[in-house]
Each structure stands twice: as structure tokens, then as C-alpha cells.
Amino acid sequence: MRSQRKCDLAAGAFIALLGAVVILAASQIRGDVEERLPPRTLPYAVGFMTLAGGLGLAVKSLRFRGEDPEIRWPEKDGWVRIGVNLLLLALFTALMDPLGMPIATGMYVAGAVWYLDRERILGALLAGAASGVVVYYVFIRLLELTFPLGPLGR
């Protein structure tokens, strides 16, 4: 879907749906309705604002009759690159607790650098190792930030 108009239509519909979900969720908020500003008032207001914005965008794109600009979505290779990088990032986040921040950092940086430039294997390993060491000595030891240490903390 490269047409701006169609994308706006889809985005508008999705946002309107989000607004409807928020209104529904707001109706279930418990709290004292006798308060000057009951707890569900603002969620309702923002829900209606979201719904109205989404519907407005959808209607505007339906009624639009001018030149339709094209959205530059990535080609297949681009989607694959984004997907792999997001996967690496999700793995990094998920492994931060069990492996500890320094080791997970080293693995993520080495893996991501290697994936983005396959000819740089040594560079990737060095960047990974250096990042892990910096995280450990600067952020954990020097600045005493409480990052998970994993096996290094045992």
C-alpha cells in the first residue's frame, strides 16, 4: 500500500478503533464519581479526541481528490534488515536479566555490527568486547548503576 491516501485511510481507521477501545476501557475505571474531576473524565476526553481524530483523518482521505503522494516503504531487503535488527534488539532486551548487561551488550553489539557489515568480523568482535567492558567498568563499577550482572554477579 504505497498510496498516501490509502495509508491515511487505514491509519485513521486504526486510530479510531484505538479511540473506541480507550473509551470502553475508560468506562471501566473505578473511582469516586463525586470528585470534582472523576478519574474517568480525562481518559474519556482523550478517547473521544482519538476517535474523532481517527475518523477525521479517514474521512478527509476518503474525500481527498488531489495528487496522491507515494509513501516510500522499504523494499523486501529493507524489511528483512529491519526485522533482523529488531529481533536482535528484542533478544538483547530479553537476555539482559539472565546473562547480565555486560555480556548481553557484548553479544548484541558484536551480532548487530556483524549483521550490518559482514566483512567486519574482527571489528564486530572488538566493538562487542569493548562495549561490554565499558558497560561493566563505567556504568556498573564507576557510576554504580544497578544493571543486571548475570553470571558476573555471582
Binding site: 480507550v22 478527509k60 529491519i82
Partner: protein, 503 residues
């Protein structure tokens, strides 16, 4: 608190001792590093270093802490300009034009004007602090919850101009920002909202994670998509702004100093708010507003100036009433109390020598910051020369550290990732990102002041119109909204955020 030339000159004599100069320099350097490094903002930085300052004389210790505060305020803009990571909400407006300038090979010029504007505004702010503090301190007292609500509402109305031609999309971005901050507990009543039964959501979404995701993570995704070899395609052109550009930014620096200083007097009116207002004002007064969002140098000078002027202004209520206007100043106040000094009306009577030495050292600190940072501009700008396959993962690493270290919750990292995806889609679909950030930053204060105001007025909304200051801000906000709607109704163009740098 009365001004006296004698006391000020004695303050300069104290601050200009070699020991105090040395500690001011160390503070500026450490502060800039704190600002540049992800994960530790000014408040955390001062808190970490507070115990260390006990090893040096009290005046030197406080001078060093104030220098750290200034340095950190300045350092935060570096990553926003060079790699599009605004570590603080106040750096977001800087990133809009600063990063665009960097992409055009002008990171050095953006960093240079940021340093110069910070210096000018910081110094002008100090002049205000030195000469008019007693008078200005009363301004803060004239502000109650209705005035705060009206001010925040006016701040929120800036989304109209930040949205460019895409008003509907700007409105949607604003509602998503407001929604994000409504999730979790109500700050006053504790009522749980929009958590959908997810326990992690009860603590709410932290706006720094949202900003990091929207800017840094989505920026990396855009570069990964196009298999970039370098973060910018263009070569670096010049390390410094030209004289013509500095002159062009002169009025901008003065205006943003005024905005940053006067709004900075108000407790809770953080640099995050004043920088957006200064950016918006500059865009409105510019004869070529279409350049904003595309690398306008005034778009960097304005928020940076406002940021530093706000930092200076924060010392007025701190010294005059013992009222910290933000978390970093609250930590600094803790530092003062650690030395047995109680900020407040009596501070100037009981410890005049100390207070004026600190004020004098701030002038010197501003000069040191400029002298230290201008030569470093080339160093920071060269970060862009690192090949993207190495720089990209490092940007992500900084983002993860930045998001995690706010509350030390893994959940915040996932939030940053989620908003990275949202930011990517927003850029592709031409939704402006700045309104979302502004709404997220303002929402909590807006809600709290609204609740307090309605309690005061026993439910009457007229309280926002029948008090002069509140009425003035409300009128400005409503006029801005009305104008935006009128322009939107007249426009028949497709919804494209023409002037968003994010697109």
C-alpha cells in the same frame, strides 16, 4: 535579598581563587560528560557526586555542583544534534533542527551555536538573577494551580504550529501522547487507569523511554532500512557557525533568554516546556518559518538558549524561597542543606559571602563551559564519521542504557522499542512527532493543576478565565487553536507534516 556591588565583587574575588576556578572547571567537564552519557541526567549526576564534594571546602563544593548542573544542561544537546538522541525532553526541540543541520553536514555549526546560545542565555539569566531576584521571586508566588493549568494549556496549544499543515495528524499524535501519560495511577487520587490488567503498566509509561524510542530507535530503523554506510550521506561542512549566522541568531538568543528566564522562575515549569515555547515563538516571528524543521540554525539557538536561561532562573526561587523548580535543583538544595545552609529569605542575610561567591562562579562557569566546549565541537561532530554498521548498534546501546536507567525496569526498554516502531511508522506516514512528545511531557502537570484548580473553585471552570494571568494564557491558547482550525478548514491539501524534521 538585596543586591550590592560590594558583595558581588567580593563574590567574584572568592570565585576567582585558583581552587574554586579549578573545581568550577572540573564541574563543567564532568557535567558535560554527564549530559552526553546516556543514563545519568543532571539530578542523578549531582546526587552521585554529592558525597564526593564533602572532601572539598563548602564553597568549592557548591560551585562544583552548580557547574555540573550547567554542564549537564549543555551536554544533553550534543547527542540530540549529532545522533538524534535527546536524552531529556528539553533537548527534543534542539534535535528537530539540530539533527537536520547535522544531516546537511553542519553538526559542527549546530553544536557551536548551541554552545554560544547557551552561554549568552545563561549569562543573561544570571544578570536577571543578580539584579532582579527579589522582584522576580514574587512572580512565582502569583502562580497558583489555575495559572499553571492555563500555562500548560497554552503550551499544549503549541501542537498546532508543531503540526505544520498536518493538523489532524498532529491532533492524533497529541492524543496518543496524552493517552500514554494517562496510563497508570492518577497522580493525585491513585486511581488505576487504562492498564488493561497489565501489572507493569501500573507504574505508567516513562516519557524518557517514549522520547528515546520515537527519536533514536526509529532513526536507527530508518538507516538500517536503507543499508546506510554512514548516518548522514553528506560530508561535514565547516566546524563552526559563520559570523553571519551568529549575528542572525542574536535576537533569537535574547528572545529565548527572556522566555526561558521568566518561565523558569515558576516551580515545575521545566526546561522541557520553555524550550518548546521558545522554539515555537522563534518559528512564529521568523520571516521564513518554512525553514524550521529543515535545519534552521535559529531552531537550535532558541531551545538551547531557553534551556540555559531556565536553569539560571531556577536559582531565583531556590535562593529566595528555598523552592526548587525541578529535580536537579532539589538535589542541589539537598547539597546546600548538607553544608548546613538553609535556602530561603534568610540565606542572603546569614551567608552573603557564600551566596554571592556561588552567583559569581556561575558567570565564570558559563565562560568555562564556552571555552571548554567550542574546541570540543569538532570532536563530537566527528562521531558522525563512524561507519553506521558500528554507530547504529552503539546508538541502540545508548538508548537501551538511557531507557533502563530511569527506573531500572526492563519494561521501560520494551516501551522504548515499542515507541521506536511507532516512531518509524509515524515518520513513514508523515505524522509529526513533536506534538506527541509535548503532550506526554505536559500531560501530568496539566492534569494535576486541573484537579487542584477545580478543587479550589469547587468545580467551576470559570476559574481559568476570571483570574488575570490564567485568563491571559487561556486567551492566547484559544486564539492559537482557533487560528489553527481556521487554517485547516481552508486547506484542501493532503495531510503531510511538511515541516516536521521527523519525516
Amino acid at each position: 535579598m538585596l543586591f550590592s556591588w560590594d558583595l558581588l565583587l567580593t563574590g567574584f574575588a572568592d570565585a576567582l581563587t585558583w581552587t574554586n576556578l579549578l573545581w568550577a572547571m572540573v564541574g563543567c567537564l564532568v557535567g558535560t560528560l554527564i549530559g552526553v552519557l546516556p543514563g545519568i541526567g543532571p539530578s542523578a549526576g549531582i546526587a552521585i557526586l554529592l558525597p564526593m564534594t564533602t572532601m572539598i571546602p563548602p564553597t568549592s563544593g557548591i560551585i562544583m555542583m552548580a557547574a555540573i548542573y550547567y554542564g549537564a544542561m549543555y551536554g544533553g544537546s550534543t547527542t540530540a544534534i549529532v545522533v538524534n538522541i535527546p536524552g531529556e525532553a528539553s533537548s527534543v526541540p534542539t534535535a528537530i533542527d539540530g539533527y537536520e543541520m547535522a544531516k546537511q553536514g553542519r553538526a559542527g555549526a549546530a553544536l557551536g551555536i548551541s554552545a554560544i546560545s547557551s552561554f549568552v542565555a545563561g549569562t543573561l539569566g544570571l544578570v536577571g538573577l543578580t539584579f532582579f531576584a527579589p522582584l522576580l521571586a514574587n512572580v512565582a508566588l502569583a502562580f497558583g494551580p489555575p495559572e499553571y493549568f492555563a500555562l500548560m494549556f497554552m503550551g499544549l496549544s503549541l501542537v498546532i504550529s508543531l503540526s505544520g499543515r498536518a493538523l489532524l495528524k498532529g491532533m492524533i499524535a497529541t492524543s496518543i501522547g496524552l493517552l500514554s501519560s494517562l496510563i497508570g495511577q492518577n497522580p493525585l487520587t491513585g486511581a488505576i487507569r487504562l492498564t488493561f490488567g497489565i501489572v507493569d503498566l501500573m507504574a505508567g509509561l516513562n516519557f524518557i523511554s517514549i522520547i528515546i524510542g520515537l527519536f533514536a530507535v526509529s532513526e536507527v530503523m530508518i538507516n538500517v532500512e536503507r543499508a546506510a554506510t554512514h548516518i548522514y550521506g553528506t560530508k561535514i561542512r565547516g566546524w563552526m557557525p559563520t559570523w553571519a549566522e551568529i549575528r542572525q541568531c542574536g535576537p533569537t538568543m535574547v528572545r529565548s533568554s527572556g522566555i526561558g528566564f521568566f518561565l523558569g522562575l515558576l516551580p515545575g515549569c521545566a526546561p522541557a516546556v520553555t524550550t518548546f515555547i521558545a522554539y515555537d515563538v522563534e518559528k512564529r516571528v521568523s520571516k521564513t518559518p518554512e525553514r524550521f524543521g529543515k535545519g534552521a540554525i535559529e531552531g537550535v539557538a532558541a531551545p538551547e538558549g531557553a534551556n540555559n536561561a531556565t536553569s539560571s532562573a531556577g536559582f531565583v526561587p531556590l535562593f529566595a524561597f528555598g523552592l526548587p523548580t525541578g529535580p536537579a535543583l532539589a538535589v542541589l538544595m539537598g547539597g546546600l542543606m548538607m553544608y548546613g545552609l538553609q535556602p530561603g529569605p534568610m540565606l542572603f542575610q546569614t551567608n552573603p559571602k557564600f551566596v554571592w561567591a556561588v552567583i559569581a562562579s556561575m558567570y565564570i562557569g558559563n565562560v568555562i563551559l564556552l571555552v571548554l566546549n567550542l574546541p570540543l565541537v569538532g570532536f563530537w561532530a566527528r562521531i558522525a564519521l563512524i561507519p553506521f554498521p558500528i554507530l547504529g548498534p552503539l546508538i541502540i546501546l545508548c538508548s537501551v542504557i538511557g531507557a533502563y536507567s530511569i527506573r531500572f525496569m526492563l519494561f521501560d526498554v520494551w516501551v522504548a522499542l515499542l515507541f521506536g516502531g511507532i516512531g518509524y511508522l509515524m515518520r513513514k506516514l508523515h505524522f509529526p512527532i513533536a506534538p506527541l512528545v509535548l503532550a506526554t511531557v505536559l500531560a501530568q502537570m496539566l492534569e494535576t493543576s486541573l484537579q487542584q484548580s477545580l478543587l479550589i473553585s469547587q468545580g467551576s471552570w470559570l476559574i481559568f478565565f476570571n483570574r488575570p494571568i490564567a485568563g491571559f494564557f487561556m486567551a492566547l491558547a484559544l486564539a492559537s487553536i482557533g487560528r489553527g482550525i481556521w487554517l485547516q478548514v481552508r486547506s484542501h491539501a493532503p495531510e503531510i507534516a511538511i515541516d516536521d524534521a521527523d519525516g
